[in-house]
């Protein structure tokens, strides 16, 4: 074969290859349309100035209007100095109705199709606290005889494995004890999801879908704003509510009063009373995660 013919063949091959490559990547155009330069260049939460943050919040509001057709109000709600949040759950009175999980689903603008929630309720058999004997997929009238119920959500650990493993510091513990995620900084490697011993973290496997009329418009940057595709999310003790003096949505929804939430630093708080007077325990204490989420029995 002559050199010329060989060069010609190579050029043809390279052209065909490049065309096939471009064709294979064609679906990406749809993706790049959704990317904005400001979004791409946005800094980490802790590096944003007040003005930067204001611009980011407006952009998120605009995007939500554009993509979901809903007018929402997104704030950056900061922790109050001197406040230390903690949560306790009375296993003696929880009836496993899962109203807390439903309230979480609605409050936090979760994807409707997957019925996602930060709370998973386990049906346990009397006589064992071993999670191995739990079942989250029960589908019958509650409470069932011989059973008790254990809702599990983020424990806001003081020694949080998820925070430790994050390669880009996209998740951290705030001064009031809440572990948060910067949804605009997370790269979606899911190492935190593997590290969490409580199945508390969720990944946005697809872009969340919610009808405009069902969107909760009161939103915060670090909590219940609609998350982007491909990032992690988790329970934030409803910081957009609790940092303004309200109670978490799951607590308000509970029909039995099983949930106790409050400020550990306040000696007169109900949570302090529970921790001082009840036989309280935490899940998987041996792992040394030091949760801020406690369980107790009445009797």
């Amino acid at each position: 074969m002559s050199t010329d013919r060989r060069t010609m063949m190579k050029a043809t091959g390279a052209t065909l290859g490049a065309a096939a490559f471009a064709r294979a990547l064609a679906p990406l155009t749809e993706w790049t349309e959704d990317l904005s330069v400001e979004g791409f260049l946005q800094r980490h939460y802790k590096e944003l100035s007040r003005d930067d943050m204001a611009a980011v919040l407006r952009r998120i509001e605009d995007q939500t209007r554009e993509e979901y057709g809903a007018s929402v109000h997104v704030e950056d709600v900061r922790p109050t100095p001197g406040v230390q949040f903690a949560y306790a759950l009375n296993l003696s009175v929880c009836i496993g109705c899962r109203r807390c999980a439903k309230a979480c689903h609605e409050e936090n603008n979760h994807d409707r199709a997957t019925n996602n929630s930060y709370i998973r309720v386990l049906e346990m058999s009397n006589g064992s606290l071993d999670l191995e004997h739990g079942n989250a997929l029960y589908d019958h009238e509650v409470p069932a005889p011989g059973k008790f119920y254990m809702p599990v959500q983020c424990h806001q650990c003081d020694n949080a494995p998820c925070v430790k493993v994050c390669p880009v510091e996209a998740t951290w513990k705030e001064s009031d004890g809440i572990v948060v995620v910067d949804y605009d900084w997370c790269i979606g490697c899911r190492y935190c999801e593997a590290a969490c011993p409580y199945h508390a973290r969720r990944f946005n496997w697809t872009k969340p879908e919610i009808p405009a009329e069902e969107i909760n418009p009161e939103q915060a940057y670090l909590s219940n704003r609609i998350r982007p595709q491909g990032v992690m999310e988790k329970c934030t003790f409803c910081l957009h509510r609790t940092r303004k003096g309200r109670l978490p949505a799951c607590l308000e929804a509970c029909p039995t009063g099983a949930r106790v939430f409050g400020n550990l630093a306040d000696p007169d708080s109900e949570i302090r009373w529970v921790l001082e007077n009840k036989r309280v325990f935490v899940l998987k204490e041996d792992l040394g995660t030091q949760p801020r989420f406690f369980y107790f029995f009445d009797e």
Binding site: R6, K10, G17, A20, F21, R23, A24, L25, A26, P27, L28, E30, W31, L35, F40, H44, R120, L122, D130, L131, E132, G134, A136, L137, V152, P161, K164, V165, C166, P167, V168, E169, A170, W185, C186, I187, G188, C189, R190, Y191, E193, A194, A195, C196, P197, Y198, H199, R201, F203, N204, W205, T206, K207, P228, Q229, G230, V231, K284, L287, T289
Partner: protein, 417 residues
Amino acid sequence: MNTDSPASGTTAHAVLSYPQFLWKALGVATDGGPLFYGWMTALTAIWLVGVNAFAHQTVHGQGLTAMTDHVSWGMYIGNFTFAVGLAAGAVMMVIPAYVYKDKEMHDVVIVGEILAISAICVALSFVNVDIGRLDRLWHMIPGIGRFNWPVSMLTWDVIVLSGYLLINLHVVGYMLYMRFLGRTPDKKWVLPFVFLSIVWAVSIHTVTAFLYSGLGGRPFWNSAVLAPRFIASAFVSGPAFIVLALQLMNRLTAFKAGEGAVQTLIQILRVTALANLFLVFAEVFTEFYTGGSHVAAAQYLYFGLHGKNALVPWIWTAIACDVFAAIVFLTVDPKKNLWIIDVACVATLFGLWVEKGLGLIVPGFVPSTLHELVEYVPNMVEWKISLGIWALGLMIFTLGLKIAVAVFTDAMHVEEA
């Protein structure tokens, strides 16, 4: 082949000769017979199918895969782990060549280094297709982003993997370029990097094991024997792959590896295949003899749990392959029946791909941390992307070897202006 070529008095300046080196390498890499073009076209086609599936996954999200919040790592991270092992295993040519000054191994050690480069490219590609926001990868760059070093083991992995890639690129590039110029490589530009690469090879698979073994919430991974197991299996998969590659090169190219190199690698396999099986056995004993809830994941992997048993046939096939290979390495005379050794190499590569792949990753998640049993079987999107990445790796390996063969057989040589 002749390594001590006379240092010819070439005066070509690097500014002229290096572009020439690259240009000629491009020519060599795109020239070949029908077999070569057929092979490369097939690999390109498989790769493009993967690229297309990846484009769809990027647009619609990882929801297109079979992964869930219960099993949040799967096929991609499994393949990543195996590929890191393959890269680390290539060092088993470097040690005989440079530490024990094995002449015949020294002649072909570049094959191992090119394997290391290709396998690291494969490993990094698997991480990239696994993460949800590829557009934010820059968040990891120290200085510009926020690199959580030294706390996050993942940042250590980024450092050791990219470091290993750079070291091997330097060694391979420098050796080929010197040879292309007809010069004897300067030892001070080779030996420090080669010895660094030996330590570094151990580090890449140790750190990768620490990624998993450091997680207290996942009892199946939270075992001190995981890092030694990773190293042992790497020292099986690397040599097994190279044994096959050297024989193929002897048949298909002008490059003739001496008999001795293959024999040395088989001697290494005799030890490492047994060491790997021993460590698997130690792990299995500890799990099952202790019992309790700690054993649930191992129970799921080896025997199935509460009627869920997707991995059982895979892991037993893998163990059968590994045991068969170990017996073959120990009993078959490689000088008489090399083909049986080759079958054993293929078998153990498959076995380790299962054991270090899905067999390692999935039981970490089944049962979940709340003891829920949600199974995972990779779907078509994951297969397409995974095969695409392996095709890319084989292309890099093929082209790397093609250039190396041309340089070492003096078919590609500098031309004075």
